[in-house]
Symmetry: C2
Subunit: 518 residues, 2 copies
Amino acid sequence: MSRFRTPLLLSLLSAMALPPGTSRADGQPAAPAALAARRYRSAHEVQIVRELAELLSLPNRAADLADIERNAEAVAALYRRRGASVRLLRLPDTPPVVYAALDSPGARSTVTFYAHYDGQPVDPREWKTSPFSPVLLDRPLEAGGRELPLATAASPLDPEARLYARSASDDKAPIVGFAAALDALKAAGIPASVNLRFFFEGEEEAGSPHLEAILARYAADLRTDAWVLCDGPVHQSRRPQIFFGARGTTGLELTVYGPNHGLHSGHYGNWAPNPIVRLTHLIDAMRDERGRILIPGFENDVRPLGAAETRAIAEVPRVDDELEKELGFSESEDPASSLVALLHRPALNVRGISAGHVGAQAANVIVPEAKASIDFRLVPDQTPAGVRQRVEAFVRSRGYFVSAEAPDAATRAAHPKIARLEWEGGYPAARTGMDLPFSKAVITAAERALGGPVVKMPTLGGSIPMYLFQGAGKTPVVGVPIANHDNNQHSANENLRLRNLWDGIELYATLFAELGAR
Amino acid sequence: MSRFRTPLLLSLLSAMALPPGTSRADGQPAAPAALAARRYRSAHEVQIVRELAELLSLPNRAADLADIERNAEAVAALYRRRGASVRLLRLPDTPPVVYAALDSPGARSTVTFYAHYDGQPVDPREWKTSPFSPVLLDRPLEAGGRELPLATAASPLDPEARLYARSASDDKAPIVGFAAALDALKAAGIPASVNLRFFFEGEEEAGSPHLEAILARYAADLRTDAWVLCDGPVHQSRRPQIFFGARGTTGLELTVYGPNHGLHSGHYGNWAPNPIVRLTHLIDAMRDERGRILIPGFENDVRPLGAAETRAIAEVPRVDDELEKELGFSESEDPASSLVALLHRPALNVRGISAGHVGAQAANVIVPEAKASIDFRLVPDQTPAGVRQRVEAFVRSRGYFVSAEAPDAATRAAHPKIARLEWEGGYPAARTGMDLPFSKAVITAAERALGGPVVKMPTLGGSIPMYLFQGAGKTPVVGVPIANHDNNQHSANENLRLRNLWDGIELYATLFAELGAR
């Protein structure tokens, strides 16, 4: 799952260990493709896991271009073996996109499935297993899992078994899951209902620095009727989720000023202005302790949720109380609202604050400046430019002279209160309507695959540059992740719960077989 | 001038460069001792400066015990040459106090003059001259001062000339100033009116860690009727000042908590509590942007200023506007109050704040905790214990569970909001009554020495453990500094303006001659 600027931190999802027994809706699949996938998988469990393990044995940090090329070749070979036409889409000094195409006779539309083959950096000292020597355990590590040697393992494998390796779930599982789904459909003689395209990025964990350029450079080749993003975890309730949007993001470095150098807090304390206290007052004027944004007009651009979105939010299983326990707090920011409701609002998160020193280094001084770092989460139709305009107007309304630069002596002399605002670029939120035919088709296929309801998430709380895949907003983009939420994503001991892979194969096989059905 | 915990930062006073021509009240001395000192000094200017320069050539960081011993010996020799009985008061592994006694026949009281011979650490790269090779310049460095070679210099020296070296003003100037005053009185045949004691500390810039123990260990030897503390600068108006008290101090490390580990600000932002924002709200509830402390009862223990103090404060020359210009701000915390008035109130200074990261290291995360470091300045009769009790009660009143420890999981589960408060010891404020006979005697002698009014400062804004010298509060303690305020104290290019040394010699000679007069 993508993250703007610091992918490492996405890991957090990993840490939520809901009861491992909690499971998806346990209906019987209604889709023939899902049943076919189940039959095929039951007969080939060890073979599928070995194919994934082989891919996981290749170190895949985006910065190691030689490693990355080996991964790209392995992924390309995987799809060539399935009869796909495979190209490596290249820009100079950039991990290639592995792009695989499988046309289906008679299909009238094209759907592109996205995953990424690069992984987060590893610190082997933090791992209990070796990150690029995949190990299958019959239970999670924390539950005392014991190894099931892959060389001698036989079907059926325990579905609660977990495969430990970097990228086991983020994000090589979908790459092998798609392939197994193709094999299953072929074995059952079920054709794909759409022309299939697979877009495997090789630098997602590095922040996708060339994604926009690659999409632009190969726009003609990449024409598609829709995208399905297969990255990230299922819902914390262990139920599969489909997401239709992602919050946008922007960031602000905010500096306020006091005296032009540090002053003795005895000789000048309570006379010289204290920039830390100016900053705390400014922050408190921008948002309250419960997360409500107080900046006038900040939510003017927020597009109201439609009926489908509102219904979907109401149907998302409530995990708030379990999560609070797990995360060690007992009062969320706005106890009146659920997590899922709040994730559909804009957020102003103070991610860092710094001035002077604390602890042993603290000195009795009035510091010359104080800094806060803020990240904003945007919802449709907010834009980074709109956020910037409203925040700057607000800071001005609090008596500050606003500048992008540090003040010189003349500026200091001219203005009693000065704030420096340095903005990150960021990108807007994006959402695909849940009522669009494509969205409905994904929901229908997924629920037919799973024999029960999926979690429908109008907007993911995190940020993904979904707007890039949407192009000018015309192409539907939907997210269909399969990994277990407690996968230690981005951290040590990343793992994939086999049950999630099995479910994913059935889900993808059904999407392939039914998305184009009329 | 002393400082609790981080002496380096005292430097601040240094940076205030009021017009160098501004001068003390230029009356003619009325005291015979001052006139005698002026005559003697006029005839011995180069000799006095050379004696000081010799002492300044000895590196004197408190931690370098071998250097410190050389300083102690040099100081002891200086006073033995004046006929004093000199002892080195020792504790193990501690810079010795050089203690010199000169009884005066017929004197009925004993006064102890305090100074310190150790100095701040130096970073020679920051110095324009070599810190332990004293150089006399005819003007301040910034004004293009040119060297007056000491080997060939002749009287009269330009009184605006400055001697550059570490400790030139902080605090070896009084050590040589006392000695010159003794020489002047001897030359004029004027006896001291009190038994004189000189107490020269050797670790003041290290925070006086053994001062209390030395005063206790040698209490019987150190009996005195009063103390005169000769450290620190004159008033920023360049007029000599006498201070009668110093603010006390204590410190607080304040930590508030959010989730038990960092969380993705997209997936949990505006749902999980943000400890930075909890902290900013807590700080803002404790004090406003103008320095007013909002904690109920915080000022209950403040002793009202007496008539003499109120009058003295009203008479202190106003330097606020010049200082604001110099320090680069144009709105002090409470524009309705003058610097000197505010320094006689308690202060709550947020000296540091830290959580997460700002700038390039900023990550889109909800951090697990946020810390602020606060120093308090206390006025009589506030105590560290009283401050602690009121602050803790206030934090509780804001819904926090207060603990001295970091919370464990059970504590987190039991309390929605948790604050950790870790206190420094600190010490109380102290003030010597301005109406006491000794205080009046110092004022009278000083004004007779200077031929005009001195600045009478009931309480110094900074903190000095004056209460230690006061003993059980029975011994009057008064501060009589002589160094120029723009002396770069604690910083590079420390210097002493000769005019300040000349004035100091006249002042000390008069105190010696007249403090015991009836």
